[in-house]
């Protein structure tokens, strides 16, 4: 068990609350964070799928982008960093995106929201400093403000709507990827578990009180990073630095759904983002490898780093995330596989502790999502 070097870690605003709730604190992305509470990963995971889970994701980066000219200028400037349609995103709506590099790899994945006269962006904790520098350098006509005095909470699961609506009447009317401001509280109907739910940005001053009120709602339990990881894995969602990184293109990563028509070949604003040559070529011709779901046949988990082979012994890829899916009640994984072997139903072998065990290529979503569209 890793010993904590607390002195080197940043503390979340809710650190004392996590301690009080019995959180087992571990280092993650430079922060001291709860990996689990006394109930443990399995129960926390299942609770989120059947009731409601409260996650502290304040380590993530919150950024406000303001135009120096018009809002359209800002949206078009943001489009120069991502293969994503920003211009077409309406006010009060949120969208998934990713910064690409000149080689077409992914620098980070993110969520951005049109808030009328500015964009609100949420990026990964481990990338946030680099992302702020990248946005500042890449958009000279834009003011980039890194918000450091707000917590970010996620409330996820079938009980999330009722629990949050009791505190913020009106959230029940929001749809998936809607964003609304309630006084100084910013709410998006989104999350990273595959469940319906909300992400809530709240000032540091109000955060603990708000979190306590949520925890007092029927069915709401605190959930640690361990269950956050197993929930997102079952939902087929990428973890930056593992399933996507500077070498994986969005096409290889099976994120083509996030590249809207306007930015593709023949679209109104075709290309014009870093790595467009590779990404547009892969869209036209197909990528060399593809991120796929992987269903091990036995009970042994296939974790990150497990090498994958065709049945004739040819190496064909590697697991990038894997473990046990509590809702699926069995081992699940995702990884990159050469395109010739990436069709659903393809039988492969994964090498676990020197033994090659059968594994089948499958859909990335092991657990049906329940977004309120």
């Amino acid at each position: 068990m890793a010993d904590l070097e607390d002195g080197d870690l940043l503390l979340l605003g809710l650190d004392a609350l996590h301690e009080e709730l019995g959180g087992k604190m571990v280092p993650f992305a430079g922060y001291r964070m709860p990996v689990q509470y006394p109930d443990g990963v399995m129960k926390e995971h299942l609770h989120t799928r059947t009731a409601a889970g409260l996650f502290d994701v304040s380590h993530m980066g919150q950024v406000i982008l303001r135009p120096k000219g018009s809002m359209d200028d800002l949206k078009l400037a943001f489009e120069t960093l991502m293969p994503v349609d920003v211009l077409g995103l309406g006010e009060g709506r949120q969208r998934y995106g990713m910064f690409t590099n000149d080689q077409g790899g992914i620098l980070d994945d993110l969520m951005f929201t049109n808030r009328g006269d500015h964009l609100y962006v949420v990026v990964n904790a481990s990338c946030k400093a680099a992302d702020v520098a990248h946005m500042t350098a890449g958009m000279p006509g834009v003011s980039v403000e890194h918000i450091t005095d707000r917590a970010l909470l996620a409330l996820q699961g079938p009980g999330a709507e009722a629990a949050l609506d009791a505190l913020l009447p009106g959230v029940a009317a929001m749809r998936f990827m809607d964003h609304r401001v309630f006084g100084d509280i910013w709410v998006s109907r989104s999350g990273y578990t595959g469940e319906d739910g909300f992400e809530i940005s709240v000032s540091d001053a109000q955060a603990e009180g708000f979190a306590r009120k949520l925890l007092a709602q029927p069915g709401v339990m605190p959930i640690g990073l361990g269950a956050r990881d197993s929930l997102r894995l079952e939902a087929g969602l990428c973890l930056y630095g593992h399933d996507i990184d500077t070498t994986t293109s969005p096409v290889e990563a099976n994120l083509v759904w996030a590249i809207q028509k306007a930015r593709k070949a023949g679209g109104a604003r075709e290309g014009g983002f870093p790595g467009a040559a590779r990404i547009l070529k892969e869209l036209a011709e197909g990528p060399a490898r593809l991120r796929v779901g992987l269903q091990p046949e036995g009970r042994a988990p296939m974790r990150e780093g497990v090498e994958l082979f065709a049945e004739d012994g040819t190496p064909v890829g590697r697991v990038t995330s894997g473990g046990f899916g509590p809702s699926v009640n069995g081992p699940i994984a995702m990884g990159y596989v050469a395109r010739a072997h990436a069709a659903t139903g393809t039988k492969l072998l994964g090498e676990v502790r020197g033994k090659r065990l059968p594994v089948t290529v499958c859909d990335l979503t092991f657990q049906p999502t329940t977004y309120k569209r």
Binding site: V35, V41, A300
Partner: protein
Amino acid sequence: MKYTKDHEWLRVEGDLVVVGITEHAATQLGDVVFVELPEPDTMVAEGDEVCVIESVKAASDILAPVDGEIVAVNQKLVDNPGLVNEDPTGAAWFFKMKLDDLSVLDQLMDEDEYQELIG
């Protein structure tokens, strides 16, 4: 009951030694979801990796605590890995060993020494 620094317990049962992991180890591992046991009738040396135990978080090895022969394994753990969390020092034993000389157990920690280690 005797203990190793790797958080295993050993209990003498007739002329055999039963081996499992401590409650402390089970708690630290978290929910156990997979157990791989050795073949019975295997000669092992102290420190050999003889079992694999995987929790939702990570995979760990269980090492042979002493030299000897593994003569029985607890197949129940394969079918119900969660037993390791429910009853680590009872129903969730991992394997039974035959030793040449039971006196090697004298070098292992007793309850008080183990409690001090994890204290």
